[in-house]
Each structure stands twice: as structure tokens, then as C-alpha cells.
């Protein structure tokens, strides 16, 4: 049976053992609840507490803590769907082993194999044949005196020749650690792998490769501390490097004649696969960032809550703001009315968060009374906060409540302002967001939305009925910020670079006569620190949508685990926005990065903005040469100029008064 997977050469199969195991099936299987035998693995005894002996093999529950520890050491994961009766294990070297409850056969990659007993379910968990699984994950039981040692193996060796490069890929049960014992620059490469033995054939000659004649493999050490020595016999004038792999259980060595381009890093004297994978680990986006300006307690961190330190060009003022003149609390049993007095017509937008916080933002408004932070009377709400958000362009007053439950909340016009009416009853299907406008004690327009889903299906005209389009306004969205650092590699952080380029872009656009608003001016979250992705990204779209911006441009830096990837990509989502992306990308072609083209992609911020929108992935900060460009202020300036030129090209080709709705060219 030859593998129908053309890429993979496997360790020897054990057909006789399989037959014996299969015959054992014909015998009645007895399940014995006996103390499970201990295995020695990675320095400790693995004692299974949720295990049964079954037909001579150990059946271990998927939720046994020792099994979890075993799988973690191997970098393996298990997925069990009781509904579909499948137990799917993905090994550290990315092979899939699939068991089916009630079936002795299991899939080991492309091979159909047989276990000594069928996996079975007890309650909500499944029991699987442990030794069978271990072997499939390249771990074999080895006797060491009275103890059974679970010994990790290098179980896969794959050789591939393409474009005058021969690549040997080794797959191991555990993350790979090695020492190079051959001198650097020598044609013969010897690597000693610690902690692993090998079930591979001891000699492999390589046919069809001009670079590599063969590989010899020798296992040594002890049962508990094995080593495997591999010697690669390369042809004269052959160089070798460690090529990229994306799991620590796999190492790839590429061989080529000098003069042929090899992508990878020189093989160090000692190392591990993990350090080859990426120059830096992916950032943990859920961890609070030390650079965050808004602490987690500051849940209502507003848009542009800090005035930027270096606001070189002051934004143009809007019409004079209305003043909030009074705020009175009128409790009534379980209900609460809050009467707000304002000096003139005011536009508002309210939001209800999933944790029963509710707030309303009064746009272009100044707080004429002291800020408040208190527990309101009555039992409808436990908190009230009133404060001024010192926005960069739009002074906003926010009135926020922490409700005790999903209480009904209505905004109704009242004398000299409006009243926020918090009901005594819960709203079982509460709306999440709405906008409106009050003037002269009358509610002039409001657009409550049936549910959050309607936020994007509602036409822009309905959502923001009172906002005129501003043909001079461009909104720049510096991607990420605050608690979300974006990508981080090579000593660079995406959120900081995005902001740097965006500030440069703003200065250029303002000098060219545009009005510019940014979704953030500092290192901050736009919605709230550690808020949901929806709230954060929708807040960015709202800024542009509410302001009726002419264009929206989101600035990002790309990254990837493979450090070889580089270049600039410009994205659009709405088909009518292709012309904008094309115009910007054409100018970006001159900044000195590789061209990765214009792509359509359903990125949130270019989907939910109502004006022509584009998202730019400037370069890859995971790539050494792109990263060195990104460290140059001159490069960041070139990028900003190119984007500004592209926006200008688009605007002059698509004058806004030609048609008020269609922006496609």
C-alpha cells in the first residue's frame, strides 16, 4: 500500500503487529478497571487517573490531566465532537490522526490503521487507545528495567528537490533541539538531536538530487535520554541553511550549490526549531499592553481622549458647541428619569454594551456643569458618570449608566433638552445602538436600530440621516492601538508605526487643503481598552460615517511567521472602491518595497465604512529588509506621501459633485 500522499516518506509500518492486533479483536474484549500502569515520560511518571485497561491496552479519557500534559509536551491538540463521534488529534508536526467511536480503524494521515479496541464514550468524554495514539504521534514505549519509558522519536524524513534546492524536512514527536558537530562551511553536515530516538531507516540514499547523496541516521544514548545523530552527505560546493518551518516539531535543512539562492539562516552550533520559526513571538493581543494609555478600569475611554502631544496642525473648528446646562435625577421606584438641559439643538448617539452598560454621547457639546460619578437613587442603575470627552475635533459629552439588568432605555424630548428614561422592566431583546437629534424640546430625528446586525445592513442614509457629506474630509485610521498592539517583530510594533505614518499623512493632506480626522491620535483604543473587536472596529467606522467623510484610509503593517515574505498590499472590499485602492497602490509602487498587488478582502473597517475606503498593509515587519525600511523615518515619509498622492489622484478623477452616491470610476 503506497501512500497516496506524494510528499511524505514514512517510518516503517508494522503489518504483522497490526494483524495480531486485529486477531485480538476477534476475542471477547474485557474491560478491567485496574490501576493504570505508569509510564515514564519527559522526566516524570505519567499516572492516568481516568483510564481503563481494555484488551491489553490502556484506554485513557480525553479529559485525563496526564493525557493533557502528554499532548502539551508533544505540541499536539485534540478535538472531540460528541455529536459527530470523532476524536481528531493534530500532532506537533501537523498530521491528523482521526479516531471514530465504535470503530477500531483510525486514520493516521493518509493511512488507515487499526487499534486494538474501538474508542468509546463514557458520559461526556471519550476513551482512546493510549499506546496506539502515542505511536501515531511518534512516541514509542521502550522497556527500561521495570519501567516503560515513552520515548519520543524523529518519525518523519521528507526529501524534496525543487529549483536546484534539496530540502530535508525532519518531523519529531517533540520540539526539536539540536547541536551541530560538523564544522561550519563543511559539506558534510552532522546534527545531534537530543531527547529523541529514531525509528527511521539508518541509511537513506537520495536519488535525483545534485546536492545531497544521502543521510545516515544513528540512535544512541539511553532509553530515558536518547539522542539521534544525522549526517547529511552533500556533494562538493554545496551550501546549507536552516529553512523556515512553522512548528517547533519540524526542522528543514535546505541544500544548494553556492550561487543558487537559498532562503533561511545559517545553522547555529546549537539551537532549536522554535527559534528558527520567527524572529519574535506573535504578540498576545489579549494581554494588556504596558503602552496602553487607558487602563482597564477606564471602560469609557473615548475617541481621542487625550490631546496629542504634537498636534502640529490644529484641526478646523466646527460650529460652536451646545452646552449641557443641567442634569436632574428623578427616581421613581424601579425606574429612573434623567432630565438633561441643553442650550441648543444637539445630536446624540447611544450605545448599549453587552454587560448592561448604556451610554449616550452628545455630539459637539460642552459640559456646563461639573462632571459626575455617582450611584443614582432607585434600583434601576448602579452607576452614573457624566463627563466631557476632550476630543480632537468633536467635543462630546458622555452620560453613562451601569444598569442592573437589560433595562429599557428611551431618549425622549423634554423642555430645553431631553430625558433619558430608564424603565423598571428589562428589555428582552434590547437594541444596541441608535442616533437622534433634539431641538427646541422636540425629537427631530432618530434612528434606533432593530438589532446590532442591522448596523451594517441599514443603508448609511438611514443610519445617519442628519449628517451631511463633507467632501473635504478624509478620515485616517491608524490600525490597532492601546490594548491591541497589532503585530510585533524585529523590535517594531505595528500600532506605533501605523500612528507614525498616519500623522505624517495627516500633515501632508492638511497642507494640501484637506480636512483630516483620525480615528486615534495617540496610542489608545478607539472604543475601550480590551473591548470587543466589533465595538473597536465599528467605532472607527462610525467616526468616518458620522462625519460623512469623503474617503477612509486604514494604515497597517503586515507580519507573518515566514520571515521571507515582504511587500506592500492595498486592499478594498466594496467593488466600487477598487479604483481608490488602485490609485493608492500605483503611488505606493515607488516607495521601495515589493509589490504584492491590490486585493479584495472582507476586512471589517473597509466593509462597514460607507465612503470609498482602502486598507494599506505597508510592508512586513516580520521581514528583515522591510523592517529595516520601516525603521527609517524617510521611508515612513515616502509611504505617507505616496498615500496622499494616491488619494489626490483618486479625488481628482472622481469629483464628488459629479454624482452624490456613486464613487466608482
Amino acid at each position: 500500500m503506497s501512500s497516496n500522499n506524494p510528499w511524505h516518506v514514512r517510518a516503517s509500518r508494522h503489518f504483522p503487529a497490526l494483524c495480531a492486533a486485529s486477531l485480538a479483536l476477534l476475542l471477547p474484549i474485557r474491560s478491567v478497571a485496574a490501576p493504570a500502569p505508569a509510564y515514564w515520560f519527559a522526566g516524570t511518571n505519567l499516572i492516568f487517573t481516568k483510564a481503563q485497561t481494555h484488551g491489553g491496552e490502556l484506554a485513557v479519557a480525553l479529559d485525563d490531566p496526564s493525557l493533557a500534559r502528554f499532548l502539551i509536551k508533544l505540541n499536539a491538540t485534540v478535538a472531540y465532537d460528541p455529536g459527530s463521534r470523532l476524536v481528531i488529534v493534530t500532532s506537533g508536526d501537523r498530521r491528523v490522526v482521526t479516531f471514530t467511536l465504535g470503530d477500531t480503524r483510525f486514520e493516521n494521515g493518509p493511512l488507515l490503521e487499526r487499534a486494538p479496541f474501538a474508542p468509546y464514550a463514557v458520559g461526556a468524554t471519550a476513551y482512546i487507545p493510549f499506546v496506539t495514539l502515542a505511536k501515531a504521534l511518534y512516541v514509542v514505549p521502550v522497556k527500561d528495567g521495570a519501567t516503560t519509558v515513552l520515548q519520543p522519536q524523529i518519525g518523519g524524513l521528507d526529501v524534496r528537490t525543487r529549483d536546484r534546492v534539496t530540502t530535508v524536512t525532519l518531523s519529531s514527536a517533540v520540539p526539536i533541539r539540536f547541536k551541530r558537530t560538523s564544522p561550519g562551511g563543511s559539506e558534510r553536515l552532522t546534527l545531534v538531536f537530543s531527547g529523541v530516538a529514531s525509528t527511521l531507516e539508518t541509511k537513506r540514499s537520495i536519488g535525483g538530487s545534485a546536492e545531497l547523496r544521502g543521510v545516515s541516521i544513528q540512535s544512541g544514548g539511553t532509553a530515558r535520554n536518547p539522542t539521534t545523530t544525522m549526517t547529511f552527505d552533500a556533494t562538493p560546493q554545496t551550501m546549507h541553511v536552516l529553512a523556515n518551518s512553522d512548528t517547533p516539531n519540524v526542522i528543514a535543512v535546505a541544500f544548494a550549490k553556492s550561487g543558487v539562492g537559498l532562503s533561511g539562516v545559517p545553522i547555529p552550533d546549537a539551537g532549536d526549531a522554535a527559534s528558527v520559526i520567527a524572529a519574535a513571538p506573535r504578540p498576545s493581543s489579549s494581554a494588556p499592553s504596558t503602552e496602553s494609555s487607558a487602563g482597564p478600569s477606564d471602560e469609557y475611554a473615548p475617541v481621542g481622549s487625550e490631546v496629542p502631544a504634537e498636534a502640529a496642525i490644529p484641526p478646523p473648528p466646527l460650529g460652536s458647541p451646545v452646552v449641557v446646562t443641567s442634569l436632574d435625577l428623578l427616581p421613581a421606584d424601579a425606574a429612573l428619569n434623567v432630565r438633561v438641559g441643553v442650550s441648543g439643538p444637539v445630536r446624540y448617539e447611544w450605545h448599549r454594551l453587552t454587560d448592561n452598560r448604556w451610554y449616550v454621547d452628545l455630539k459637539n457639546a460642552m459640559l456646563g456643569i461639573p462632571a459626575r460619578d455617582e450611584q443614582p437613587p432607585g434600583s434601576a442603575a448602579t452607576g452614573l458618570r457624566v463627563r466631557q470627552l476632550a476630543g480632537d475635533q468633536n467635543p462630546t459629552v458622555r452620560i453613562a449608566f451601569t444598569l442592573v439588568s437589560p433595562r429599557q432605555v428611551n431618549v425622549v424630548a423634554s423642555d430645553n433638552g431631553f430625558t433619558i428614561a430608564i424603565g423598571g422592566l428589562d428589555d428582552l431583546e434590547p437594541q444596541r445602538v441608535g442616533t437622534g437629534r433634539v431641538a427646541g424640546g422636540m425629537l427631530i430625528a432618530s434612528a434606533p436600530l432593530a438589532n446590532p446586525g442591522d448596523l451594517w445592513s441599514t443603508p448609511a442614509a438611514m443610519l445617519h440621516p442628519i449628517v451631511p457629506t463633507n467632501p473635504k474630509l478624509i478620515v485616517i485610521d491608524p490600525g490597532h492601538g492601546g490594548s491591541d498592539a497589532g503585530a510585533a517583530h524585529n523590535g517594531l510594533t505595528e500600532k506605533a508605526l501605523n500612528l507614525d505614518i498616519s500623522k505624517r499623512l495627516r500633515a501632508i493632506l492638511v497642507a494640501r487643503g484637506w480636512q483630516v480626522e483620525m480615528t486615534r491620535y495617540t496610542d489608545t483604543d478607539v472604543f475601550a481598552a480590551n473591548g470587543s473587536a466589533h465595538d473597536e472596529l465599528q467605532a472607527r467606522c462610525d467616526i468616518a460615517n458620522n462625519a460623512g467623510a469623503r474617503m477612509f484610509v486604514s494604515v497597517h503593517i503586515n507580519s507573518y511567521t515566514d520571515a521571507a515574505l515582504n511587500g506592500t498590499t492595498t486592499y478594498f472590499y466594496k467593488d466600487s472602491d477598487r479604483a481608490l485602492a488602485d490609485a493608492v497602490h500605483r503611488r505606493l509602487a515607488s516607495v521601495g518595497t515589493a509589490d504584492k498587488g491590490v486585493r479584495k478582502e472582507e476586512f471589517y473597517v473597509i466593509h462597514h465604512t460607507t465612503m470609498p475606503a482602502t486598507l494599506i498593509e505597508t510592508a512586513f515587519l516580520s521581514n528583515a529588509s522591510d523592517a529595516s525600511l520601516l525603521k527609517l523615518p524617510a521611508f515612513l515619509q515616502r509611504v505617507a506621501v505616496a498615500i496622499a498622492d494616491g488619494l489626490g489622484d483618486y479625488a481628482s478623477r472622481n469629483p464628488v459633485n459629479a454624482t452624490s452616491t456613486s464613487d466608482g470610476s
Binding site: 510528499w7 501537523r94 528543514a252 506573535r282 473587536a533 497597517h556 507573518y560 478582502e601 472582507e602
Partner: protein, 166 residues
Amino acid sequence: MKVLRAVVVLAVLVVAAYLAYRYLVQPPGRSADTITVYYCKTDGVTLVAWKVSRDPRMDPNKVAFYATAQALAGPPVSVEAIRFPAGTIVKHVDLSGSTATVDLGGTISRSAGGSFAESGEFRGLIWTLTALPGITAVQIKVDGAKVATLPGGHLELEQPLARSSF
């Protein structure tokens, strides 16, 4: 009589042996029982299909779960592909109408890898599932909940994705 009994016993044994042989040795015609799994090459553009075998007796309702696990694991490691972060698992796949709802383990939320990786990963997964008969769209969930994007992410996941989304 004794001879006849011996012949019958022998015949039964032969038939049993033949059936056991048929049962143990899978006929080679398993190639028809494959699913097509897609991955995105590291150029970020090209999708490549590869075949993965499946147990011919697998319940059709299980195939989507199995296909998802294969797409998450990606092609053999020696193949350069845009891959989901190591440790990404599928928890459930539910079929409802022509939409498959894929519930991914929360590990993926801790390792959003940039827009390039996101789009390559999900394009491969969506193409894999929509290659199965009857499935035209895929709703992604993370730990049982809908998400707008991954944390710090770019690609929108709140609504079902189809091949036309990319």
C-alpha cells in the same frame, strides 16, 4: 456423514477466512473516498487543493468536522502554506441549511497573526468546507461565540463567509 460434516465445517471456515481477509485488507479502491482540502500558498493568492482520504463508512454529518480538522492542520509540513496558528482546534461543526457553523478553540484568539495570515487561513478553510456537497457558506465562531474579527484582527468573521467573500 462424518465426511459431509467435515466438508461443511471446512466450507464455513473457508468462507469465514475469506470474509475476515476482506475485512482486514481494505480494497485499494479507497481513492473515491476522499475529501478535497484547500490551502493558500505563501504568495497569499494561490489556492491549492489536496486530497485527504476518509473512511468510506464515515457518517456524512461527520465529514465537515473532519474536513475542518484537516484544513486547520494544513498540508504536510514540507509544503509551504499559510497555516492556522499551531494549537488551533475545531470544537464543533454544525450544519444548518447550506451554512456550516465552525466553532474554533480559543487558542486562535491568542495568536492573531496579521491580515496576511488571517486571509490565507480562512480562505483555505472556507474553500475546503464549501467543497463539500450542500455547503455554501461558513459561519466562524470562537469558543462558541460569534466574533467580529479575531482580537487585533482584520478579517470580518461576524457573518457567514462564502467563496465570494474573498
